[in-house]
Symmetry: C2
Subunit: 279 residues, 2 copies
Amino acid sequence: MYTNDMARKMSAAMNKVKMAIKAGGGHTVLSTGITGDDARMAKAVVDAGIKMLEPNHPAVALARGYKGVTTMHEAEQVRYGITVAQMAEVTQGVRNVVGKDIYITTGIPGGFTEILPMPLTDEDFLMMARAGADGLHTHKSSLYDLEELVKKAHKYGLCVDAYIGLPTDLHTFGISAEKPEEVAHLARQMEEIGTDMIGLMTGMSYEGIDAGQIPQVLKERLCAMVEAVKVPTLAEGGINIDNFRAFKDTGVNILVIGTAIDGMAGKAVAAAAREFLNI
Amino acid sequence: MYTNDMARKMSAAMNKVKMAIKAGGGHTVLSTGITGDDARMAKAVVDAGIKMLEPNHPAVALARGYKGVTTMHEAEQVRYGITVAQMAEVTQGVRNVVGKDIYITTGIPGGFTEILPMPLTDEDFLMMARAGADGLHTHKSSLYDLEELVKKAHKYGLCVDAYIGLPTDLHTFGISAEKPEEVAHLARQMEEIGTDMIGLMTGMSYEGIDAGQIPQVLKERLCAMVEAVKVPTLAEGGINIDNFRAFKDTGVNILVIGTAIDGMAGKAVAAAAREFLNI
């Protein structure tokens, strides 16, 4: 299906992930939001120990003030207007400053659940691979779409992380599975078609979860996924300082942090601005 | 030289500056760095009370990891590779999220002291004006270059802020004048050719100044400029929380803050990353 060169590229990339998970005693953090797409902030978190980054197109829509969106909810509606070329530029810039040892997975238009036809061409995958992406961060809503994407991505040496969601999620960020046994079954199917990392959407569509805790039903879903597959697992959505430990306790390998870090950056610059204005 | 429409556009823009200075009792802050070019951070500081923003191309070089630069010193060497179209996109994005009442001055390639020919065309000025810029933040090194730029900018309704530097500055960010009387004379010449705001470079080329204080010689230069002209005045470079009061005491109207705020944002995301990694 893919050349030996590209298999080697992917193996080296997955090795970065495995080393990061090992270094963290079974867990690591995938940093996204402003730390995934702004080279200044990406370097700051990598210098602080982060080993995995995720630039993604809805966050770039926010960074660029695209169509005036200021929230992730709004960004979801317009993200298809960000181009693969823009994401390649962002990815290359982050790669330039963080070096080759950091795993970069990128969210690109066409790789999520789309409301308009967004065909990904061979040139798109080639462009992303050449821009320094190790993989693609994807949110397709069917196994069929995911399998097609995985095949094309692997052809160009790009690993794929893909997600499981709930049918009731406000935004569709993955393939639906409700009960723990359904999650486990789907996770195995995703693994069989070659998905390199499998995640579960754990936020209530950006609304977060009660401080310190995660709901029992979510815990069961996460554990079911973790136990079902051999590939590294991820949890994305609603993860913050308070509930981070509860997430780790499920055994999930990679915890995706975005909005929480963005909020801290925004608070820091706002506090600085107020301090200057009040001197 | 310019149409009535464009004179009205400029008058409305300068009114935003005057209102900001008035609201701050004679002083305001021009926020740049990541708060000037990232729409998320721009909105955060505007919500905190900032009324003036400055997206600029060396900061965008840092944001985009362009050629792998990670410091302002390095960005100075490669900034000519950022395009006017990119700066227009950045400016439009910031304008989209901060609304019409914020003054935006933009640093574009061709508007600084250049080491290669960087001709600015009528289309460039038109593009910036249509992207929502109120003015251009410029660092030409001669009155001749500045006058030419001011004329073209005014034709498209863009105000110009321009700067006075020292012949010994590490990077040339303005027209040279050393003694206070030379600064005063040059500031008047800049005002005569139509410069809308006149500033003094006050940083030791990003190295900062002793905590809480500014050198006597700099104080005299700033005061000479402030007293010489009627247009709003600016101080740029090396301004931080500690010496901010000393700068204000010179009577300068607009204090440009960039690296100081960038540093705080970087520290905030790094601290957040470390916190997550250590749970």
